[in-house]
Amino acid sequence: MNETIKTTKTVLHAQNVRKSFGTRSNVQQVLKGIDLRVAEGEFVGIMGASGAGKTTLLNVLATIDRTTEGSILIEGSDISKMKDAELSAFRRNKLGFIFQDYNLLDTLTVKENILLPISLGKMKKRVAEEEFNAIADILGIKELANKYPHEISGGQKQRTSAARALINKPSMVFADEPTGALDSKSASSLLGTLEDVNKKRGVTIMMVTHDPLASSYCSRIVFLKDGNIYSELYRGDKTRQVFFQEILKVQGVLGGDSVDTI
C-alpha cells in the first residue's frame, strides 16, 4: 500500500519550512525545518502537543501565513514566492478549508455559504447547481439548503463548512480541528463522511487534531514535537481500531498532550 502512495502524484511538497515569531531580540522558532510530502488522495493527520506547531504548520501550508524560510510547492507552484493577491486567488481556486468553529456567514443560508467560494469564478449557474447538488448529497445536507446557520445543529454546520471546502474541487482540503466543537456522534459521522469523500472522490485532506479517535480516520499521521517531525504512522490495511491503538502508543511516548485535551 505504501508503495502505491509513493508512486502517485505529489500534491504538496514542503522543504525545510521554518517559522519564527517575535521581535529581533526575542525570536521564538515554532517550526524548525519541516520536510513533508503529501501525495494525491492522502488523508494526512497532524498531531502533537499544544505548542508543537500544528496550527502554525497548517496555516503556513494553507497559505494563510508565510514561512520565515523554506519552500512549499502545491501542485508544482511555489506558494512561498507568491504575492498576497496571487495567494488569495490560489486559495480560492486550489484549496478548501474546514474550521473548528465552522466560520459560516450568519447572514447567508446553507446553500449561499456553500456556493460562496465559487462566486467570483466564471462557473455557469447550471454547472454550479449540479456541483452543489452532488456535494450536498454526499454530505446529506440538501434539505437544509435554505436554512440559516442559526437554525441547524453543530454537526450540520460542520457539514456545510465541509461542503463549502469541497465546492471548488480543491487540490487539497485543510481542516483545523474540525471535530473540536462537536459531540462524539456528530464527530464520527463527519469523519466518516470525510473519509468517504477522500476515498471516493480522491480529495487530498490534511487535518490538524488533538483527538486520536479523529486521527484514526486518516491514512497517515504526522507527529510534531517542538517544531520538528517526530514520527509518522501509516494506516495501511490496518483496521481503524488497530490504527487507533498505535496512535495512542505514539501519543503516550510523545506525552504532554493528554493534559490539554479538552
Binding site: A89, R92, N103, L105, L108, E112, L115, P117, S119
Partner: protein
C-alpha cells in the same frame, strides 16, 4: 485592594478606543451649543442683526438642545451595546448590578466633565470664527470682538448636566434590565431574515410607495381652503410612507431578488444584500429618522439659502430705482399731516451734486384706474380677485426712459406687474381680459404677460404697463372728468425716480436721502439701499441659524450612521476573516461593502433629497425669484458633507477587513 474608582480609571484607560467615539460626540455637541449660546447672549450680535431676531435665536436654541440631547443619548445607547460584554464580565466576577451601574455613571460623569471643559475651550476658540461668519452674512463690516460670556458657559454647563443625567439614567436602566446571557449575546444579536408573508408584504410594500407618491402629489395641490389640513396630511403621508419603504418595501424587494438568485448570491450580494437583510428590522427606524431629518434639514437650508441668495434681486423687485420721490407727497402740508420729515427733491439733488455723485432722474406718471378682471384667472391663494382697485396705469415709454427694462406692449394689451403677488402668479395663464371701467366708456385690455417685479418703487397696488399711445389716450380721457367713483387725488400721481450711476456710492446717497430720518422711525420714502440693508440682516441671520442647525443635524445623522456601521463592521469581523481565508482579497470584499454603504448612506440621502425638493416646490410661492440655483447649491453642499461620513465609514471597514486576517 482595588477601589471602584481605580476600576473606573483602569477601564477607561483600556477602553479608550471605544470611548473616543462617544467622547467626540459629546465634545462636538458641547462646542456647537456653547458657540450658539455665546452668540445668543452677545447683545452686540442681536443689535446688529435686528432686534426682532432674538426669537429666532431662542427657537433655534431649543431645537439645538433637543438634537444634541437625542444625539448624545443615541450615541450612548450604541456605546453601551458595544460594551455589553464588559458589563456582563463585571457581573460575572461578582460585582452587583448597582456597583456596575455606579461604575458606569462615574465614568460618564468624568467623561461629561472632560467633554465640557474641552468643548467650552474649543468653543471659545471657534466662536469668533462663527461670529465673523455671521457678521459677513448680515453685511456688517468692521471690527467686532466676542465678549467672554459667563452666562453662555453657565447655560452650556446646565444643559449638559441635564443631558449627562439623562445618559446616567439610561445606563442605570440598561444595567438593571439586562440579563447576563443577554449581555454576552448582545453584540451578536441580529435578526434572521424571515420569509415575508407574501401577500401582506406586497400590499404594504406598495402602500409605502403609494403614500409617498400621494404625499408628493398633494404637496403640489394643497392650495385650497384645507391648506393646514393638507399640510399635515402631506407630512403624515410622506413620513409613514418613508417608514414603510424602509421597513417593508425594501425587505420585500430584497427578498424577491434573493430568492430569484436561488442560492447563487455571489460575493458582492453576500456582503451587501445578505448583511442588510440581516439587520433591516433594526435599521428601519434609524434610516427613517435619518431620512426625515435630512429632508427637513435640506428644506430648511435650501429655503433659507434661497432667501439669502435672492435678497438683492427681490429687493430690486420692490425697488426698481435707487430712489423715488412722490411729488404729491412732497408738500409741507401733507408731510405735516402724516408726521413725515423728508428731504425734498431739491435738497436731495443738491446733496448728490455736492458729494459729486453722478445720477439720472426721470418723472413717471401713474394713472389710478379701477375695473374688473376676467373671472377665475387668479389662484385661490390671493383670493378670488375680480375687482381692480388701487391700481396704476403706466406708460412703457416713460419707464424705458427712466432706465427700467420693459418691452412695449401692443395697442390694447397690457403687462401686469405686482411684486407683492410675487411668484404666486408665476403660473398664471395669459392672456386674460382686463376691463378698465374708471372712465366712460369702459375700455377692454388684454393682459399678455405677468411681470414679477414692480415698475415703480414701493407701489401699493398692481401696475398696468401699456404703450404710450394707449396711455396718452387714457390720460386725456381722464382729464375730461368723465371718470367714475375715483377720488381726485388718485387720478394722476407724478413720481420722480433717481438712479445713481456708481452703485458703490449708494450708501452715501442713501445717507443724504435719509438725513432727516430719526432712528427707528418708519419712513414712507424708504430707498433701495436701506431696504437691502434691512433684508440682508434678516436673511443673513436666517441662513446663519439654518446653516448652524443644519450642520448640527447633518453631523448628528452622519455620526449615527457611522457609529452604527462601526458596530456592524465589528460584528462581521469574523465573516471577513473567513472570507479572506477562503481566498477573497481585501479588494474583493471591499467591493461588496461599498455596495452596502451606497445603500446605507445613499438611500436616505436620495429619499431625503426627493422629499425636500417636493417640499421646496410646494413652498415656492414664498420665493419671488427662481430658486433652482440656490437650492442646488445648498443641496450639493449638504450631500458633500454627508458623503464624507460615508467615506469615513468605508475607511473604517477597510481597516477592519485588513486587520481581520
Amino acid at each position: 485592594m482595588l477601589t471602584l474608582f481605580d476600576l473606573v480609571v483602569r477601564s477607561m484607560r483600556k477602553n479608550i478606543k471605544h470611548y473616543y467615539l462617544y467622547f467626540f460626540a459629546l465634545i462636538f455637541s458641547v462646542v456647537l451649543y456653547f458657540v450658539f449660546s455665546t452668540l445668543e447672549q452677545d447683545s452686540a450680535v442681536l443689535d446688529r442683526s435686528g432686534g426682532s431676531m432674538g426669537l429666532a435665536f431662542k427657537v433655534a436654541g431649543i431645537l439645538l438642545i433637543l438634537i444634541a440631547g437625542i444625539f448624545v443619548v443615541y450615541a450612548n445607547a450604541i456605546f453601551l451595546k458595544r460594551r455589553s460584554r464588559e458589563i456582563g464580565l463585571y457581573q460575572l466576577i461578582g460585582l452587583s448590578k448597582n456597583k456596575v451601574a455606579r461604575l458606569l455613571i462615574i465614568e460618564n460623569v468624568l467623561l461629561s466633565a472632560g467633554a465640557l471643559i474641552i468643548g467650552i475651550g474649543a468653543g471659545m476658540l471657534v466662536s469668533r470664527l462663527f461670529l465673523l461668519l455671521l457678521m459677513k452674512l448680515i453685511g456688517h463690516e468692521g471690527f467686532i470682538t466676542v465678549s467672554f460670556s459667563l452666562a453662555a458657559i453657565i447655560q452650556t454647563i446646565i444643559v449638559f448636566m441635564v443631558i449627562s443625567t439623562l445618559t446616567s439614567i439610561q445606563m442605570l436602566f440598561t444595567v438593571r434590565r439586562s440579563t447576563l446571557l443577554g449581555l454576552f449575546n448582545a453584540e451578536k444579536k441580529g435578526e434572521q431574515p424571515k420569509k415575508p408573508r407574501t401577500f401582506r408584504s406586497a400590499v404594504l410594500a406598495l402602500l409605502g410607495i403609494g403614500l409617498i407618491v400621494f404625499g408628493y402629489w398633494l404637496s403640489g395641490n394643497m392650495m385650497n381652503k384645507w391648506l393646514l389640513f393638507n399640510m399635515l396630511a402631506v407630512l403624515a403621508s410622506t413620513i409613514l410612507g418613508t417608514y414603510l419603504v424602509f421597513r417593508v418595501t425594501i425587505s420585500w424587494l430584497f427578498y424577491q431578488i434573493r430568492s430569484r438568485k436561488q442560492g447563487h448570491l455571489g460575493l458582492n450580494n453576500s456582503l451587501s444584500l445578505g448583511s442588510l437583510m440581516h439587520r433591516m428590522k433594526g435599521n428601519a427606524n434609524s434610516l427613517t429618522i435619518i431620512t426625515v431629518l435630512s429632508a427637513m434639514t435640506l428644506t430648511m437650508l435650501a429655503g433659507a439659502y434661497s432667501l439669502y441668495y435672492a435678497t438683492e434681486k427681490v429687493t430690486r423687485y420692490v425697488m426698481p430705482y435707487d430712489f423715488m420721490f412722490d411729488e404729491d407727497q412732497q408738500d409741507e402740508e401733507w408731510m405735516e399731516r402724516y408726521g413725515f420729515n423728508e428731504v425734498s427733491v431739491e435738497e436731495f439733488e443738491a446733496g448728490l451734486k455736492e458729494k459729486g455723485i453722478a445720477y439720472t432722474t426721470e418723472t413717471i406718471e401713474l394713472l389710478g384706474v379701477e375695473g374688473t378682471y376676467e373671472k377665475g384667472v387668479f389662484p385661490i391663494l390671493i383670493g378670488k380677485m375680480e375687482g381692480i382697485y388701487n391700481t396704476y396705469m403706466v406708460s412703457a415709454k416713460q419707464l424705458q426712459k427712466a432706465g427700467f427694462q420693459v418691452e412695449t406692449p401692443k395697442s390694447g394689451t397690457l403687462l401686469l406687474h405686482y411684486a407683492q403677488w410675487g411668484s404666486m402668479l408665476k403660473d398664471i395663464k395669459v392672456p386674460f381680459e382686463v376691463n378698465v371701467t374708471s372712465i366712460e366708456p369702459a375700455s377692454a385690455f388684454t393682459a399678455v404677460k405677468y411681470g414679477a417685479g414692480d415698475v415703480v418703487n414701493a407701489s401699493w397696488g398692481p401696475q398696468f404697463v401699456v404703450n404710450d399711445a394707449d396711455f396718452e389716450k387714457y390720460k386725456s380721457a381722464m382729464d375730461q372728468e368723465n371718470m367714475l367713483n375715483i377720488s381726485e387725488e388718485r387720478v394722476v400721481r407724478n413720481v420722480r425716480v433717481f438712479n445713481v450711476a456708481d452703485k458703490g456710492q449708494l450708501a452715501i446717497a442713501s445717507g443724504i436721502r435719509n438725513q432727516n430720518r430719526s432712528e427707528g422711525s418708519w419712513s414712507h420714502g424708504i430707498d433701495y439701499y436701506s431696504m437691502y440693508e434691512d433684508s440682508i440682516k434678516v436673511n443673513g441671520l436666517l441662513i446663519f441659524i439654518a446653516g448652524f442647525l443644519g450642520l448640527v443635524f447633518l453631523i448628528s445623522t452622519g455620526s449615527i450612521l457611522y457609529f452604527k456601521q462601526m458596530t456592524e463592521a465589528e460584528q462581521e469581523k469574523q465573516s471577513y476573516a473567513t472570507l479572506r481565508q477562503l481566498g477573497f482579497t481585501v479588494k474583493d470584499i471591499m467591493r461588496g461593502i461599498i455596495r452596502k454603504q451606497v445603500f446605507v448612506f445613499g438611500l436616505p440621502l436620495l429619499i431625503g433629497l426627493l422629499h425636500s425638493i417636493f417640499a421646496i416646490k410646494s413652498a415656492s410661492f414664498i420665493f419671488m425669484s427662481d430658486i433652482t440655483v440656490p437650492t442646488a447649491i445648498a443641496m450639493g453642499v449638504y450631500a458633500l458633507i454627508y458623503l464624507t461620513f460615508a467615506f469615513l465609514t468605508i475607511g473604517y471597514y477597510r481597516k477592519t477587513v485588513k486587520a481581520a486576517l
